[in-house]
Symmetry: C2
Subunit: 406 residues, 2 copies
């Protein structure tokens, strides 16, 4: 426990001998989280098609709120008046907020929805007005009003929202940014990070729901020397944990390479989060390089389109990590989504044919059931990851999930 973060602790409890994978416990004022862990996204203060109580019963342990969205509605102060994120939403467990920066920098060119963050284009988002030393100026997507977000303002908002883990404001540079631009942005993000630490201390390290801990972001785009410089920078500052951010390249392979390069450069005594990544193969790859926590809307987003996560290798998924239950081939398929799955849909014997029927009629129940399956799938995946680390069998278990680690 550090002086700055007396109420938080990260302890490594097991290591896989053949990879850099590690298991641990992340203790927060709202409870402990076993790592590696998958973080559910409660973007605007709610999961997309499940209640917090349901998420808990499915095994969820850590929830992320988006500062950008919560600032605009209902407002960070309003969240604080309702007891902070964990209490307001009925989650009552460990929470994390991002800085708000990612939405500001990506909104308007579809970047938020991109699977690989690098697929965002290099043109400024229509809602982003200006980035300068002070921070970012942007328009609300809700009503067009103009807002500013500075490092200090982000931390003040995050203090009001009251998550256990808060994140410094960084500039997430576009994939097509020049190296020169990325270099200047990284230098500015470092200055913003020092201001964030100062603001965090000035607020006594507390938010509306108790002590908070600050996560520093390591960027550097696709450039190894900049990734190294960013890692050295965050290692040298008194952050509680780190997150790998910024553009992660233009392909999944590039993202894996960046994670494989930068994660080992980060201090091993602090937890490492990988921002916005969460497909099955990405999780096994990230874990193998030392990532402790992941967040991604993938499992809940694909549910909206009838996508149900299944283990690759067990069933032909055409290279994806899910079945598209809207497909006519499931019309008479009496099998559950996945044999042996203990989610509410599979364990009560619901057939693919029934889910296909509900999807064809746009019945909300399809979304509810597939979302529950997908959340439970991710929690089973993370339990398998942790068990694999404890058993020293990460490569073998990844292979059993259809993922070959390089």
């Amino acid at each position: 426990m550090s002086v700055r973060y007396p109420a938080h602790r990260f302890t490594v409890t097991a290591r896989d001998p053949a990879t850099r994978a590690r298991a641990g416990v992340l203790e927060t004022p709202h409870g402990a989280v076993e790592t590696p862990a998958f973080v559910l996204c409660a973007t605007r203060g709610a999961l997309k098609a499940a209640t917090m109580e349901e998420a808990r019963s499915l095994g969820a342990t850590l929830v992320l709120g988006n500062t950008y969205h919560l600032m605009l509605a209902p407002g960070a102060e309003a969240v604080g008046r309702l007891g902070g994120l964990a209490r307001m939403t009925g989650w009552h467990g460990p929470t994390l907020t991002d800085s708000g920066g990612f939405q500001i920098f990506s909104m308007g060119h579809g970047g938020v929805a991109a699977e690989i963050k690098g697929s965002r284009s290099g043109t400024p988002a229509p809602t982003l007005i200006r980035i300068d030393e002070q921070g970012a100026t942007f328009r609300s997507y809700l009503d067009g009003s103009v807002h500013q977000l500075s490092p200090e303002g982000s931390l003040a908002a995050q203090a009001a929202i009251g998550a256990d883990l808060v994140v410094v404001l960084d500039e997430c540079t576009p994939f097509h940014a020049t190296r020169d631009y990325v270099e200047r942005a990284l230098a500015r993000t470092m200055r913003w990070s020092r201001r964030s630490l100062a603001a965090f201390d000035a607020a006594g390290g507390r938010g509306s729901a108790g002590p908070q801990a600050l996560i520093g972001i390591a960027g550097g785009h696709v450039h190894e020397d900049l990734r190294r410089a960013a890692a050295e920078f965050v290692n040298g500052e008194d952050f509680f944990g780190h997150a790998i951010g910024d553009s992660l390249g233009g392909t999944r392979e590039e993202m894996h390479a960046i994670v494989a390069f930068q994660a080992p450069l980060l201090r091993p005594d602090r937890p490492i989060h990988l921002l916005g990544i969460g497909q099955v193969a990405d999780i096994w790859h990230g874990v193998a390089h030392g990532i402790d926590t992941f967040d991604c809307v993938h499992p809940t987003r694909i549910a909206r389109h009838g996508g149900a996560l299944v283990r690759a290798g067990v069933e032909d998924t055409g290279g994806r990590d899910h079945l598209n239950l809207r497909n006519a081939r499931f019309r008479d398929d009496p099998r559950p989504i996945e044999e042996g799955c203990d989610c509410p849909a599979c364990s009560s014997g619901l057939s693919r044919a029934y889910l296909h029927h509900l999807l064809k009629l746009d019945e909300l129940a399809a979304l509810l059931l597939i979302t529950r399956h997908n959340i439970r799938f991710m929690m089973r995946l993370m339990a398998a990851v942790r068990a694999a680390i404890a058993a020293g069998r990460v490569r073998e278990e990844a292979a059993a999930w259809g993922v070959r680690l390089g």
Copy 2:
């Protein structure tokens, strides 16, 4: 137990001395239901914003599927192949199907959505092509294809769907129908009912998921002599139970008067269902006149518009049985929907302000949470009704729920 219905039984266990209210147990092949009971509508094979598992955990005991919808998609035979309604949907408990007639006769003039069934207009629905001695000919609302529904066809579809309780095809006449038309329709419904009994016997009284029991419908529109004739008719046939159907008038008062008139004319040894009615005051009134089961989409439908059921008399609801949480007055209201409610939303401390926030953003979680509250509210209401009957205090308890029984 009758010869025709060896696997079903209805037993009255308590009576209120001051009203005709009675409590009982309705035994079916898929389990027993304590009455009075509220039936949740799984119109197209799913509840609108809850899974069957959730409904069960909220106290639901009996679920209704709409034969009309299930015939069109996924098809009655498809439901049968997936094990029947209870198994296909993961409900695994007692179920009821209607005949399919109500949708055919009302679809196209908004009648399905009308609170009081009498508010349907007298013009034929655009999708209804013809009613004759054989049955009804109509167009599918899904693809415009032409279908026929005869008494025998309805029972065959209901056998494939496989609910525990099935209902004869009746003609539900429009509120504005002439007395002459109603009289002829009622006579035809009686002939259809005898054909239904014959078809039921010919099928051995079994559906895809086991033995079924047949419910006869007592109509008669707003005319007391026809209501009496219809009651005498169903009493004299070997139905397992009865339902009060047909137009129930143009106002809530008229509906109450029809129920008060006809329910006491029905045989007291058979359960009595009131079709499509389920507001709080209507349930207390119906119970007081001997109704055993109710079905209505009201609790789940109002949830879609932010309507959360609360006890009248405890809070000012402007004469309604619910609060409209979209209203700006709830923006900063830190209270739960209802103090002391044990639903997932209220018991985890979710505030009206939070639900208001989610509703404003059209977040699905609002619908999920309010739906759970409303289902739980109905189950608490029915438990209070049963306890009031057991205690012989129906009038007093109704008053405590803000309902004055005449």
